[in-house]
Symmetry: C2
Subunit: 176 residues, 2 copies
């Protein structure tokens, strides 16, 4: 257990806020902390019955493209599932007839408040894609067999997507 | 594909650096981006043969404690495995006789450069714990059966830890 004794916002951006300051630990000692405040997000893994639908997207933070499950940032106190269904339509043009809660993950707990809500999406219906003006998104369909091989060979580098793919397999295969 | 046309550092901390600026997209349009630069990290999952050893730690960014596999930040161009073995000794007092590469994950690709290298650690030997002065870490042993139940019930919220636990099960159970 620790709590801020004093802190201040050192950067206020459009996506993140950075807070730094001093915390006091349980025994009264103090320590410096640096925290990125983030509104949180949602990530949806659509499964057609034989394939997952992912997006390939260039990410400037890593200077490379990555395969990711469709995802988006929450606006304020928005319902994560509602936002997830919107992102699913915008990014890959899919409507989900059935959604299964797949928990949540904290993206990087050492310095960041971001929580990502996870869902599996089934009973898909094709609609129209509407990417944001500054998004360049390629829709990629990956058969279940390749998902299994790819996970075994650690080929899905995006953390939220790796967790969701593992959870899809657990959902499909049942406990063992 | 996109690249910075101009950018500047708006915050330089002890752990993170924040860069903002303008990128140019493939068709020449421009967009604003906010990026957290992070040196990357390593996360080790020690398995005794019947239990995993995790740490419970309060994280001020989330204002709660979390169960995590032992982990640490890389210093400069440090070898991830070397750093991981040091963290394993410091945080849980374990030396690993055998280590299996479990890939890597990008923590939160939308705005952050952090890459976390993942390893499974076997053939464990007890040594002495040496936590950092500002770390309050409780060592927690979780039997494999509880790991399986916990994953099924989405009880491991830390993303890197969830990926590593899934990868341990895949390693132990083999393909299916």
């Amino acid at each position: 257990m620790e709590r801020w004794t004093d802190s201040r916002i050192v950067f206020q951006g459009k996506i993140i806020t950075v807070r730094t300051g001093t915390v006091v630990l349980d025994d009264g000692t103090t320590a410096y902390r640096e925290v990125v405040e983030h509104p949180g997000g949602v990530c949806m893994l659509p499964f057609t019955g034989h394939s997952v639908i992912l997006v390939r997207q260039f990410r400037i933070a890593l200077n490379r493209d990555l395969l990711e499950a469709p995802a988006g940032k929450l606006e304020g106190a928005e319902d994560p599932l509602r936002r997830g269904l919107i992102e699913l339509e915008e990014e890959v043009g899919l409507r989900a007839g059935r959604v299964v809660d797949a928990g949540k993950v904290c993206a990087t707990v050492g310095f960041c408040s971001e929580v990502i809500h996870l869902f599996l999406a089934f009973d898909l219906e094709e609609t129209e894609r509407r990417p944001e003006p500054d998004e360049r998104i390629e829709r990629v369909e990956i058969p279940l067999g390749e998902v299994r091989t790819g996970l075994r060979e650690h080929r899905f580098d995006d953390a939220k997507t790796a967790v969701l793919l593992h959870r899809l397999l657990a959902h499909l295969d049942g406990p063992r």
